[in-house]
């Protein structure tokens, strides 16, 4: 008797846990009442704890935007800081619902480890030089000495690029990023190269940050974006369209400040569809119709998030560059909501 009871209880518990795991992530998230979001352990401007102990950054704000879309409440996110090694395991094992951790979109990752829902930041390898050199383009760097890390793709990209440009250069490489920055600061080389988003953070470690500029050329492709598990289309849609809603809002000129006014007065059909006054685009993906309104109302549009975390109003002072909207010469482009 007791034995069968135990077996039965165990069986039910097992069935329940299996059922719990196989239901869609969106339903799971709604049931548990929060999103579990994987972020980096500390990357300036993308995800880092601030002095009050809250998480801040572009990747962090993206997860908050999803929470705004689902729960109308940006606090319903729990952040799991992950190292580069454990991030994919955490996603696959269900420990996190979305991985928003400056992860480069590559083919193997997109086909094996999960699915990329968009590109929050188009990163790529860039160059920093002293303003006093009077250089405005990387193509003028012939004969320069370049500081970089040893044994990374950075070094290989550098070699490829200078070879295709038929320019001479001298590489000065170090094991650690701190050493690279120190050597550049001490004048041991003319150029510092690493991923562009990193260059702006490194610039703040220099003794006179204002005397250095980042050149416009980007020589490698590092599209960084949020990732979800494969085979869960409903959840994938929510994450993907949260990203598109951020872009669409910026493109339509809807900001945190004017979103209420826009919702009340705008006659623009694009804005009406975006803010849920026309159609049922929100309910169709399992959210409320004012999902995008909530995102903009609570978080702002993509441009606002960018400026707040990494843009000109932040200490990093990264210019929009290729991360501008397509209509302003950048790469950020959202399909229409209709």
């Amino acid at each position: 008797m007791t034995k069968t009871m135990i077996v039965a209880t165990f069986g039910v518990a097992l069935a329940a846990s299996v059922a719990g795991a196989s239901a869609g992530t969106l339903d799971d998230v709604k049931a548990k009442g929060f999103i579990q979001c994987g972020v980096s352990q500390g990357l300036a401007g993308f995800s880092q704890p601030d002095s009050a102990g809250n998480w801040a950054g572009l990747d962090v704000d993206f997860c908050r935007s999803i929470a705004a879309a689902i729960f109308n409440d940006t606090s319903k996110v729990k952040f799991t800081p992950l190292s580069a090694k454990e991030r994919f395991t955490a996603l696959q094992s269900g420990e996190i619902d979305v991985l928003s951790r400056n992860t480069t979109w590559t083919m193997s990752r997109d086909t094996k480890q999960g699915k990329f829902a968009g590109v929050m930041y188009y990163d790529g390898q860039g160059f920093m030089v002293r303003k006093s050199l009077g250089i405005t383009s990387a193509k003028q760097l012939g004969g320069a000495s370049v500081c970089t890390n040893t044994g990374t793709t950075t070094e290989l990209n550098l070699a490829d690029w200078f070879r295709t440009q038929k320019l001479d250069y001298k590489v000065v490489s170090f094991e650690k990023s701190e050493e690279v920055v120190k050597a550049y600061d001490a004048g041991r080389c003319d150029v510092l190269t690493t991923d562009a988003s990193g260059l702006y953070a490194e610039r703040l470690k220099l003794t006179k940050p204002d005397e250095h500029i980042v050149l416009p050329e980007i020589i490698s492709k590092e599209p960084l974006g949020p990732m979800v598990r494969q085979g869960d289309d409903a959840w994938f849609n929510v994450v993907k369209w949260t990203y598109f809603a951020l872009l669409s809002a910026e493109e339509a000129g809807v900001t945190k400040a004017n979103v209420d006014e826009m919702k009340a007065k705008s006659e623009n059909p694009d804005i009406k569809r975006l803010l849920g006054k026309d159609g049922s685009f929100g309910t169709d993906i399992g959210l409320t119709n004012d999902w995008a309104y909530q995102i903009v109302k609570l978080m702002g549009n993509y441009g606002e998030l960018f400026e707040k975390n990494v843009g000109e109003t932040s200490p990093l002072k990264i210019s929009r560059g290729i991360n501008a909207l397509w209509s302003k010469g950048g790469l950020q482009y959202a399909p229409p909501i209709r």
Partner: protein, 379 residues
């Protein structure tokens, strides 16, 4: 002697000469210095060299931490200037996170209370002259862990539940180190006894266990516990990350301690065992009353060595995304508001000083304990 008796009495002293102080060349500070510091040309050179190095190092530290330091400021801007030393406003803004991690601000009284309880139970335990040791041991080993567990995790008695993922800083460092120390010692003793057991199954099990854990690096253990375990376990079942790390650290240190203690056991002369058996003591009485006290006393330096290395190894939990003191400091370095050429140095300086204080404290206490317990063996 013979000379003195032959000569006339005028040259003979009748009283003993006053004892004079030994010449300054042999006693006193100057003599000590002459002997130990300036004994020869090479000694003199080495002395000057040593003093120069110490003075230079001390000057560097004082210069960085005090003279050139920036003391006030709202953000990293003040530290982004040439020749700035330690950036203390950054530490001021962040020190609470260094201690508590991201523990919710309004709940921070709970870890504070745990720190206080820890001090209140440990300090009387560490001072031999304080009475009620049995009660004290009970409080420290049973009551304190239970109370702290409920205080820190919450969810009962109207306390808000606080997940271990937001714990951090010194709190996590101390939890990992303390749990590791407290759990691994009895575990190590049992393993050491098991390895010397006459029962083959127990002996083989202990040997396999010890050799397995000594054969893998701690970082692998932590990595397996945090990354591979979830893949093996049924979906939806989760064991807390901090708990996984705690178990990993305790088992790991236990295996090392077992070998240290086994060294002590082997140094006990056979006569001690035979004497105990002749008295009619059973196995556990013999071990508990005769052998272990002597063996443990002998390996105090080795045990404390393991504890100190465990304390420093706690920094490895960062790879499983638990933010100990060092992890918290490193994470804070990414805050763009505070980034500056000296922020990193300041953060690491704070980490180094904190770790040194704890490890040096442990080391001094163990040396004092060793001297106190030195009843024989020392010749």
């Amino acid at each position: 002697m013979t000379d003195a008796t032959q000569h006339s009495g005028a040259y003979v002293r009748e009283t003993l000469a006053e004892a004079r102080e030994a010449p300054g060349r042999f006693f006193g500070p100057i003599a000590w210095m002459r002997q130990h510091l300036f004994g020869s040309v090479i000694d003199t050179l080495l002395t000057f060299l040593g003093v120069a190095i110490i003075a230079w190092l001390a000057w560097q530290v004082i210069d960085f931490a005090f003279l050139r330091a920036v003391w006030t400021g709202e953000n990293g801007e003040v530290c982004r200037k040439e020749g700035a030393g330690a950036c203390w406003p950054y530490v001021e803004a962040y020190w609470k996170q260094f201690v508590y991690g991201r523990y919710p601000i309004e709940e921070r009284w709970r870890p504070t209370l745990v720190f206080a309880l820890f001090a209140a139970t440990l300090v009387p335990l560490a001072i031999p002259s304080v009475p009620y040791k049995r009660l004290n041991v009970f409080l420290f080993l049973v009551a304190f862990p239970v109370v702290s567990f409920f205080l820190l995790t919450g969810g009962v008695f109207g306390l808000v539940e606080v997940e271990t993922t937001v714990w951090g800083g010194l709190l996590v460092t101390l939890i990992v180190a303390l749990t590791g120390i407290v759990c691994s010692l009895p575990f190590g003793i049992l393993l050491a006894l098991g390895r010397r057991s006459k029962l083959p199954i127990i002996r083989i099990l202990c040997i396999v266990f010890i050799e397995f854990w000594r054969g893998v690096p701690l970082i692998t253990v932590l990595f397996m516990a945090s990354n591979m375990l979830p893949l093996f376990m049924p979906a939806g079942m989760e064991v807390d990350k901090l708990l996984r790390a705690l178990i990993g650290v305790a088992l790991f240190t236990g295996a090392y301690l077992a070998e240290t203690i086994r060294g002590g056991l082997q140094a006990i002369p056979k006569g001690q065992y035979e004497g105990a058996m002749a008295l009619g003591l059973g196995y556990w009485q013999m071990m508990g009353l005769i052998v272990m006290p002597q063996a443990l006393k002998m390996v105090i330096p080795g045990i404390v060595n393991s504890f100190i290395s465990l304390f420093k190894d706690t920094t490895l939990v960062l790879i499983v995304s638990l933010f100990d003191l060092l992890g918290m400091i490193q994470a804070s370095l990414a805050d763009p508001i505070w980034i500056s050429p000296v922020t990193g140095k300041t953060g690491y300086f704070v980490a180094a000083v904190t770790f040194w204080v704890f490890c040096f404290g442990m080391s001094r206490y163990s040396q004092w304990m060793e001297r106190r317990l030195a009843t024989g063996h020392k010749r």
